[in-house]
Symmetry: none
Subunit: 206 residues, 2 copies
Amino acid sequence: MPPELNARQQEILDFLAQTIRERGFPPTFREIAEHCGFRSTQAVSRHLEALEKMGCIHRESGARSIRLASRLLEEPDSTEPVRMVPLVGEVAAGRPILAVEDIEDRLPVRQDWLPVHERSFFLRVRGDSMAEGIQAGDLVLVDPGVRVHRAEIVVAMIEDEATVKRFYPEADRVVLRSDNPTYADIVVSRDFRVVGRVSALIRKYR
Amino acid sequence: MPPELNARQQEILDFLAQTIRERGFPPTFREIAEHCGFRSTQAVSRHLEALEKMGCIHRESGARSIRLASRLLEEPDSTEPVRMVPLVGEVAAGRPILAVEDIEDRLPVRQDWLPVHERSFFLRVRGDSMAEGIQAGDLVLVDPGVRVHRAEIVVAMIEDEATVKRFYPEADRVVLRSDNPTYADIVVSRDFRVVGRVSALIRKYR
DNA sequence: TTGACAAGTGAACGGATGTTCACTAGAATT
DNA sequence: AATTCTAGTGAACATCCGTTCACTTGTCAA
């Protein structure tokens, strides 16, 4: 919509957005000048004038009285397709998948990140078998019933025990390898099952 | 959560939130005084001082340099448990934060994972300075304007370059440390800025 | 070459703005 | 009754900040 934006104008617009986002209020003329390398506030004044004429900003009188046009506002009610995916248990110790009644929680995931079948779920990771890439407490998104390729990360069931490993199929057996080199490879033939592919990971700090 | 708020303090806090929401920047002392019916800016000064001590606002020097802390900037219709958080750029190389027009994408995040101020955003990580825990391509959720504690992960700006590091404050300087031991510590004094705390991480496989 | 124009410099100006100091009135505390 | 605390007044002040004016520089078209 805004026909042509100068490089300088774009730079100032970026700086305005950044400052407002990080500090909570707009910068002064002199702060803008310093950012752009100007030695005069007059240059800022004229650029802001141009930006206002183009409708990118709106100004009132007084210090820092700059408001960005409506594109800045984030619409939280956008109709993005999001699905709430259940967190159903833990992996790498004990029984991995609990009954549906034991859904601990639900986390939002964009629908285009999920396969169509609606059976994905989250598991909380225990242990450090995939450290440091996957850490204890991380939540892995597991897609059951999708094709797993070589070296992808899977949740595998081995004798009633579930673990997160990389998947290396061979002629008549499968090697399950940890990213953490202190864990030895696990070679399995038929006494195991791939629960699903790990397609994403969510980590919450603190 | 906030211990006890005076009626006046609540009135000022409401006025701050309303002004910021409607005008895009905070009011001046005299505007606050006029709203409250004060005839002196000194009363405003002391109330703001008290509010800052209670952690409700944060102030810098200069005109209108008031930032509301966490809880108060939310719209009254925030019953949604999920908020779409914008992905606004990359970090660890070049310019870190692009204009608001350049929102690449939006990702859903549970609202109770976010501070209430609605200014959180995602950045895509480049490089391996925090490997293996944080890998290239990961999306980090950045909360600007929250207190950062020792050893937490932050996005820091050092001379127009943004990086993800662990934050170790010392007497009159700050050590920024990579998890990846092949990167040396960066010691900075004043020529840097903490953009925000990294509070979560999302990784998409394949 | 000339002229127009956009972009920036440098300095000065005046008003806006946060700060400070001395003081008052009422309420709570001792 | 004396003292302290809270909340606000009023004025003075230094500085921050947007505005304005005159001038310079480089580019492009006529």
